[in-house]
Amino acid sequence: MSTVELSTARTTGKATGEPLVKLVGVKKYFPITQGIILQKKVGQVHAVDDVDLEIYPGETLGVVGETGCGKSTTARLVMKLYDVTEGRVIFNGTDITHLKRRQMAPFRREMQMIFQDPYASLNPRKTIGSIIGEPFRIHKTVSEEKIKSEVQQLMELVGLNPEHYNRYPHEFSGGQRQRIGVARALALRPKLIICDEPVSALDVSIQAQILNLLKDLQNEFKLTYMFIAHDLSVVKHMSDRVAVMYLGKIVEVAPGATLYKYPKHPYSGALLSAIPIADPDLAEKKQRIVLQGDVPSPVDPPSGCRFHPRCPNAQFPRCSDVEPPLAAHRAGQLAACHYPLDDVQVNAVKAE
C-alpha cells in the first residue's frame, strides 16, 4: 500500500493538512530465542507487520482489534519505546526512527502516553506530586519552585483535588489514578497523546468520566489522540477515524461513521456484529458473523491474506496466495480484502 493512496483517501472532518505521525512500512518482530549462554534465534513473533498509518493533527484515530493483534506494539513504536525492525516513523515531518535518547528529548515533549493499567502505571513509592511533576524535572521546562503550583493546576484540570498532592497512588481509586496518568501525560503540553486502552481497566461508570475528560482536554488543548481500545462502542464515541488491526496488519481504515455503517473487510464486519444490541427484538433479527477457530499464531502467520482461514468470504486459492493491498472504497475508506462485504451482507449484520 502506498502512502499516496492513503493521503488521497484522506477524509473529511478533522483529518486535514500534513500528518502529525506517519508510519511507513513499519515492522516489529520479536525474536524467540533458545539456549542459555549461546542464544540462537528459533523464530520470531510478527507483532506488527508492514503497517502504514497516518495520524492528522487534531483528530482522534481509534485503533481496534482483538488481544495480541499488535495495537499496543504499534503505539509503543510511535512512542519509540520499542525500536522498529523495519520501516520509518515520521513525527511532524521529522524521521525519528533512529534517534538516540538525547535527540529524542524534544520529541518526547510533543508526544505522551496514557497507559492501560492505572494500578501498574504509577510508581507505588512516589507521591502524586512527584509523579505528575517528573516530566517538569526531566525536561526542566519549569523551575523547581514553580513545579508544585504547576502540578496542582494540572490536578485541578483533570478533576483531582490539589490537596492530595502528597498522597500515594494506593490511596486513590482506579478512576482517580487514571486521572493522575492523564495529568502526567498532559504536563508537557504535548501535541499527541497515545491512549493505550485507557478505560478498559475501569468500571463502566468511571469509563464515561474519563472519556469525557479526554474529550474536553482535546478541545481545550487541540490534542491529537491515537486511541487504542477493544471496546467498539468506546472507539465509536471517541474517534474521527478508525483503524482495524488483525494479526499485526491494518485490515481497514475508515472514518468512524463510514466504518460502522459500511464495513468492507469481513473482519470489521464480524467485530461490528459482535456489538450487543440492547433491544432484544432487534437483537433477534440481527445475524451475527461468528468467526470459526482462533487467531492464528503470530509466530507463523497464514500466507496470503492473514484472515483467510477464518473468513466467511474467502475464495481459494486467491485469498491464501495473494496478500490483498489496502484499496479505497468509500471516501476515506481503505480495506485490504479481495472479496469485501457488499451492502446486502452489511445490512444483514446490522439488522436495523
Binding site: 542459555i36 549462554i37 509503543r76 512512542m79 519505546l81 535518547r101 529524542m104 528529548a105 518526547r108 515533549r109 505522551q112 502516553m113 497507559f115 492501560q116 493499567d117 501498574a120 502505571s121 504509577l122 510508581n123 507505588p124 513509592r125 512516589k126 507521591t127 517528573e134 516530566p135 526531566i138 525536561h139 485541578e156 484540570l157 478533576g159 483531582l160 483535588n161 490539589p162 490537596e163 502528597n166 498522597r167 500515594y168 494506593h170 490511596e171 486513590f172 481509586s173 478512576g175 482517580q176 496518568g181 502526567r184 508537557l188 468520566q209 475528560l213 474536553d216 482536554l217 481545550e220
Partner: protein
Amino acid sequence: MTEPEAGRDRTRDAANQPLPRDAELGSETSAPVEATAPPVGAPSSAIPPSEEPAPSGSTAQDAELESLYEQGLDIKARSQWALARRRFLRHKLAVGSLIVLILIFGAGIFAEQIAPYSFSEQNFEDGNLGPTFHNQHYFGTDVLGRDYFSRVVFGIRTSVRVALLVAFLSTIIGVLIGAIAGYFGGWIDNLLMRFTDLMLTLPILAVLLVASALLGEGSPYRVAIILAFFFWTTLARIVRGSFLSLREKEYVEAAKAIGANDRRIILRHMLPNTLGAIIVNLTLTVATAILIEATLSFLGFGVRPPTPALGKLIEEGQGEMLIGHWWLVVFPGLMIVAIVLCINFVGDGLRDALDPTQRRTT
C-alpha cells in the same frame, strides 16, 4: 472542561474515596469515636492525633470535617517509611530483638567505658576464676588472668565491626551487579550472572581458609573485605530478579516515555521498589557474617591475637572446657547466639514491615 463540571467531578470523587490512610489512623487514635458512629467517624478521625478527639455527635464531627477540608492543604502525607515503622513497631518479637541488639552493639561500641579491664591486661593472681563478683570478673578470667567480661565486650566490637563492614560492602557490590544485570539484560546480564554462578559454586569455607592461610591472620578489615567478596552473590540474584520484573512495569515504561534516562529510572523508580528486599538481606548478611567470622576464627584464621573476636574466644577456650572452665566457651557462644537470633528476628520484622502490599497495620 468547564469549571462547574470540574468541581462536580471532584466532589464526587472525594465522596467516593475510601480514605484508607485516615481510616487506618482512626483505628488507632480514636477507636471509641469510630465505634459510636462509624459512618461519620471514619473521615473525622483524619484529624491529627494532637487534636482532641471529638465527642460523638454528628454536628461536632461535621464541623471538624469542614475544618479538615479547609486546612487540608497542610496535612502532610505520612510517608511509606512512617507506615513501615508503624508496622515494625507492632512486631513485638522484632522490637524486643532490636532492643537486645542495641544493648549488645552499644556494649561493643562503648567497650572502653563498660569493660572494667583492658582486653589484654594480665593478672596471674586472678587466673582461671569462674564467674564471680570478686574484682568485677563477671564472666570469670582465663588462664592468664585476663578479665573475660572485658574480652567478650571487646570481642563483640571486633565481630560486629567485621560483620557490618561485610554487610555494607557486599550490599554495594550485590546491588550494583544485580541492578546492572537486571536492567540492561542481554549479554551483560549473561556475563555477570555466569560470574555470580561461578562464585556460588565455590566452597566458601575452603576458599576462605586457603585465602586466610596464604594471607595469614590479619586485621579485622582484611577479613571483612575477603568475606564481602563472597557474600554479594545472593543479593545480586535477588536484585537482578526484582529488576527483571520491574523493568516490564508500566510505570517504568511511563518514565521512559517521559524521557527519563537509565540512571534516573534505576535510582528513582526501580531501586526504591527493591529496597525492602535489600534491607532485609542486609540484616541477614550481618548474621551470617558474624557466624562465618566466628567459624574462621574458631578454625584458627581470621583476626590476629590478642585482639579478641567472639569466635576467637571460643577457639581459645575450647581446650579449657575439658577441664571444667566452661565460662570460656559459654559466654562468647551465648553472645553469638543472641546476636544472630536477634538479627534474624529483626530481619523478619523488617520484611513484613517493608512489604508495600501489606496494608494491615493492626
